[in-house]
């Protein structure tokens, strides 16, 4: 848990999930598909990583899950971004942007 590398990845995954859900409520399978599409098929989230992350975020109160039916009538759990989640997403995006900016500046420096 205290591995910094894992933290970085986990933080990023959290942001990706929040971002995916900001477009509307979705079930786990859909989240993976949506992240893949949004990243132009460049990012594939492992199922094994997705569900623990989802539950963790749910405990933090950023998303809330509810059983529902998908477009083909199958029972599935749909996750929805909460207000706290929206705020968290904004925060994470800002800090991500800042990081990118800093790294870019560093790289462009001669």
């Amino acid at each position: 848990m205290s591995n910094p590398k894992a933290d970085l990845l986990q933080g990023t995954l959290d942001m990706l999930i929040l971002k995916a859900l900001s477009l509307g409520p979705l079930h786990g399978y859909g989240i993976i598909q949506r992240i893949r599409r949004m990243s132009d098929e460049m990012l594939t989230v492992e199922q094994g990583a997705l569900y623990p992350a989802l539950y963790r975020i749910e405990l933090k109160g950023w998303i809330s899950g509810k059983w529902g039916e998908n477009e083909t009538g199958r029972k599935a759990k749909f996750y929805k971004l909460t207000r706290a989640g929206q705020k968290q997403l904004r925060l994470e995006e800002e800090s991500w942007d800042r990081l990118v900016l800093v790294v870019t500046k560093m790289r462009e420096a001669t």
């Binding site: 079930h27 786990g28 399978y29 859909g30 492992e46 199922q47 094994g48 569900y51 623990p52 539950y55 963790r56 405990l59 933090k60 109160g61 998908n70 083909t72 199958r74 029972k75 599935a76 759990k77």
Partner: protein, 876 residues
């Protein structure tokens, strides 16, 4: 918020484990099926689609476990697992468990009992509206009683207070209902008494100003208890009349069931009806005033305001009011101020007992930890980390403490009512003491803290083991563990010594109090109170004359007397003037306790006559009035003979009494007022014209000096009274020894309780020393065997073991002496005739503890000498 979510999730996972797991399974399955569908849409066969989905999903089982853990599963299961394991371990080691639980339940139970008393008496707010705004007003420096005319004047003068009501408790009334005449406790109050406190009558109304006018139709409020006892909770009693002291009172209200104010009272009556009785401005009539401060005005400001009025009264009535000032005291302080310190000291003492109990259990745990070393090593070898082991051991400690706590609450439930029943009635609100929610919270807190206290150090030690060494070494103790155990024993001895010294000082004080000479003979003296409700003075006087004669003729009776006051009770306290001396400055006149007695009083009480004579039958209303004074009043005549001097009770007018005799001083308020002797003088009942008797006294004490055990004569004496008047109420039948015993009851109580705590502490400390040394001897069997093989004698071995124990005992005694010197100071004003650092007490307690410690060392030492060197060396 987050922490709460996690906790809720953990609980959910514990309670609805299957549902949580099922949820996860459902969700993962839905995922898989969607993937299969998607694969099929891409043209795979069903089989291919399933295979591919399964492959891309990875290890389903481990994902499920991981997800479950995130969802809060596991944590509670570990707790549950630990608990079950602990319960098994405690059950397996029943001997240890029983000793530990008993020790803890005693400690926790005693703490809970004392706390429930502290809670009821000191912490619980009074059941009045905004009780913090309520004050008690007194006159004089120490907050004495208020003279009624002064109260009426300042109440009407300006609005110093929001409202104020005079209160006089300890009145008594004869109630003649259907059955035998009953004596009731009464209370006089002025109008608006309940309203002032913010208490609503159960039914009826509070007294109005018109009820409180002199000459108003008599009204009465009944207590709930009296109402349900005598009137079966009949609500129609309101507006009806009851007869008290042959007078009819109209019932205006029933007070609520839980209502109380100071001394208990069955009936509450307007004080204004007795205004005539309290009209003397200079008197000290036992009236206190309860008042509500105005909102946002401090007690200080109010007192200043009030004394503006008092200064004016001083100018207006210099004779009586010179130097009189109003003093305010918060209601809470006034009611419980005097019991706070003894209660807190007991609370502290019982806390020390619990600490000692903790030390003992910690010691037991340390012993057990060394026998469980292998178990711990195996667990570490199997992959448990240090935190995991500490957690397990702490769970065990907390479980122990919880069992102790539950038993402790049971003990406390029983103990509280026992203590409350043993306590004298003088402690306010004690009847309310019970094990209520706040007390349970306290016990819960104490149990948890206790569990951590005795469990933490052993757990930390046990977890700090070197794996290979422990597996190899077996059962030989390590040095660090011994150090901790030694420290625990030293602490125990120190705490015990402190408790013993405190108890010893109280016992010494109690002895000194009992040794005080009260100035009269307490054995073989029967007392009882007879009320005076007949308004015909001649009948009253002849009734009492006849009663005395008849009782005197009973076999076993030596002499009989009547009086209007008794030592160790309340007293009248008027001022007096010595004739032929310049008038003292206004308000500076000396005062003395006044008794009115029959001629045989001195002989009956056994009060020694020092000089002159006491009353004789020739003294009558028509002969010159005479007075007998005590030796303290005689000191007002330093260079002259007091006999033949004259006293009066008012600066001008009234009878002038000639002093005919001087008698021994008697202790009036309690046996502890020895340092301050209030002068006393005696008037003769026979010189008071009969028609004045009913106005003078409301109860007369009948005293009977006997040759035999006085309680045996009580029925015969009562029979004589009943033979003369079957409706005559007689109450408070007690021997003088009982009165003395009651007067020292609060002191006896705190002494006994502290002594019990100290003895429990001593027992625990002995067990602690004994257990520690026995264990050490067992550990050192090999070493002792070796020494003996090398030529050590039995005495050397004895010295070795006893030396070890006594070193700790001495260290504990030194630490305890230092702590005692610091702590006994706090109980200085509970002591009587003995200083807080009384060397005799300190020395004898030290000696006692040393002897007991030596005994505790001796048994293990003797066992050590029995070690057979050959067996010991072959051991292991």
């Amino acid at each position: 918020m987050r922490g709460l979510n996690v906790l809720v999730a953990r609980l959910r996972a514990l309670l609805w484990r299957d549902k949580v797991l099922h949820d996860i399974d459902e969700e993962l399955r839905a995922h898989l099926e969607m993937e299969v569908e998607a694969n099929r849409e891409m043209g795979m066969t069903l089989e291919e689609a399933r295979l591919s989905a399964g492959k891309s999903f990875g290890n389903l089982g481990s994902i499920r476990d991981l997800a479950y853990e995130v969802k809060g599963g596991g944590f509670m299961e570990t707790v549950w697992q630990d608990l079950r394991y602990s319960a098994r371990m405690l059950f397996k080691h029943r001997g240890f468990t029983i000793i530990a639980v008993l020790t803890l339940s005693l400690g926790i139970g005693a703490n809970t009992a004392i706390f429930s008393i502290v809670n009821a008496v000191l912490l619980r707010p009074f059941p009045y509206q905004s009780p913090e705004q309520l004050v008690i007003v007194g006159e004089g420096v120490s907050g004495g009683s208020v003279s009624y005319p002064n109260f009426v004047d300042w109440r009407d003068d300006r609005n110093v207070f929001e409202s104020a009501s005079a209160v006089r408790s300890n009145e008594s009334y004869n109630f003649s209902g259907a059955g035998e005449p009953e004596r009731l406790q009464g209370r006089l109050v002025s109008a608006g008494f309940l309203t002032l406190l913010g208490v609503k009558p159960l039914i009826g109304r509070d007294f109005l100003p018109e009820d409180n006018r002199p000459g108003a139709a008599p009204a009465v409020m009944l207590s709930y208890g009296f109402w349900s006892r005598n009137f079966g909770n009949d609500p129609n009693i309101i507006g009806k009349t009851i007869t008290l002291n042959n007078q009819r009172y109209t019932v205006t209200a029933i007070t609520p069931q839980d209502f109380e104010f100071g001394l208990p009272a069955d009936v509450t009556i307007p004080i204004g009806l007795s205004a005539e009785r309290f009209k003397a401005r200079g008197a000290d009539p036992g009236i206190s005033v309860v008042a509500r401060l105005k909102p946002n005005v401090s007690q200080q400001q109010t007192e200043t305001e009030l004394n503006v009025v008092y200064k004016r009264l001083e100018q207006q009535y210099p004779d009586t009011n010179t130097g009189r000032r109003g003093v305010l005291m918060p209601l809470h302080e006034s009611f419980v101020g005097s019991v706070r310190q003894p209660l807190l000291i007991l609370f502290g003492a019982v806390g020390l007992v619990l600490l000692i109990a903790c030390a003992n259990v910690a010691n037991l745990l340390l012993v057990r930890a060394s026998t469980r070393k292998r178990e711990m090593s195996v667990r570490v070898a199997l992959g448990a980390n240090r935190w995991r082991i500490i957690r397990q051991l702490l769970t065990e400690s907390l479980l122990l403490a919880s069992i102790g706590g539950v038993l402790g609450v049971l003990l406390a439930h029983w103990g509280t009512s026992f203590i409350a029943s043993q306590l004298p009635g003088s402690i306010p609100r004690l009847a309310e003491a019970n094990v209520e929610l706040r007390v349970l919270m306290f016990t819960l807190g104490v149990s948890v803290v206790t569990g951590l206290l005795f469990g933490l150090a052993p757990a930390l030690q046990a977890s700090r083991l070197n794996l290979t060494e422990a597996l190899k070494e077996g059962d030989r103790g390590s040095v660090g563990r011994h150090k901790l155990r030694n420290v625990l024993v030293v602490c125990e001895v120190a705490l015990t010594l402190t408790l013993l010294v405190g108890a010893g000082l109280l016992i010494q004080s109690f002895r000194r109090v009992l040794q005080v000479d009260p100035g009269f003979e307490t054995q073989n003296l029967l007392t009882m109170q007879v009320s005076v409700n007949n308004t015909d003075g001649n009948q009253v006087a002849s009734f009492f004359k006849q009663v005395q004669e008849n009782v005197r003729s009973l076999p076993g009776v030596k002499s009989v007397a009547i009086s209007n006051g008794l030592p160790l009770g309340g007293a009248n306290h008027p001022i007096f003037f010595i004739q032929g001396r310049p008038l003292p400055e206004p308000g500076k006149a000396p005062s003395a306790i006044r008794y009115t007695v029959s001629p045989d009083y001195f002989q009956t009480m056994g009060i020694e006559v020092i000089k002159g004579r006491v009353f004789v039958s020739q003294d009558t209303p028509s002969t010159p009035p005479v007075v007998v004074i005590d030796e303290a009043l005689a000191q007002h005549f330093p260079n002259e003979d007091p006999i033949g001097q004259r006293l009066s009770q008012s600066a001008s007018g009234g009878p002038i009494y000639e002093i005919v005799g001087v008698v021994r001083h008697v202790e009036q308020y309690n046996l502890e007022g020895h340092a301050v002797r209030t002068p006393q003088f005696y008037l003769n009942f026979n010189q008071i014209p009969a028609e004045r008797w009913p106005g003078l006294v409301r109860r007369i004490n009948l005293l009977t000096r006997t040759d035999v055990e006085p309680t045996g004569l009580a029925a015969a004496v009562r029979g004589q009274i009943a033979a003369l008047n079957k409706d005559q109420a007689v109450f408070n039948v007690r021997t003088m020894e009982q009165i003395v015993s009651e007067s020292v009851a609060p002191r006896r109580f705190s002494m006994l309780l502290l002594a019990v705590f100290a003895v429990v502490a001593l027992a625990l400390a002995v067990i602690g020393i004994y257990g520690m040394l026995s264990y050490a001897v067992a550990q050192r069997t090999r070493e002792i065997g070796l020494r003996m093989t090398l030529g050590a004698q039995r005495t050397d071995v004895m010295r070795l073991v006893i030396g070890h124990g006594m070193k700790l005992a001495v260290a504990g005694v030194v630490a305890g002496l230092i702590a005692s010197f610091a702590l006994t100071r706090t109980m200085r004003n509970l002591l009587f005739g003995v200083s807080a650092t009384d060397p005799i007490t300190f020395a004898s307690i030290t000696l006692l503890l040393a002897v007991v410690a030596l005994l505790a060392c001796w048994l293990p030492a003797r066992r050590a000498t029995k070690v057979d060197p050959m067996v010991a060396l072959r051991y292991e």
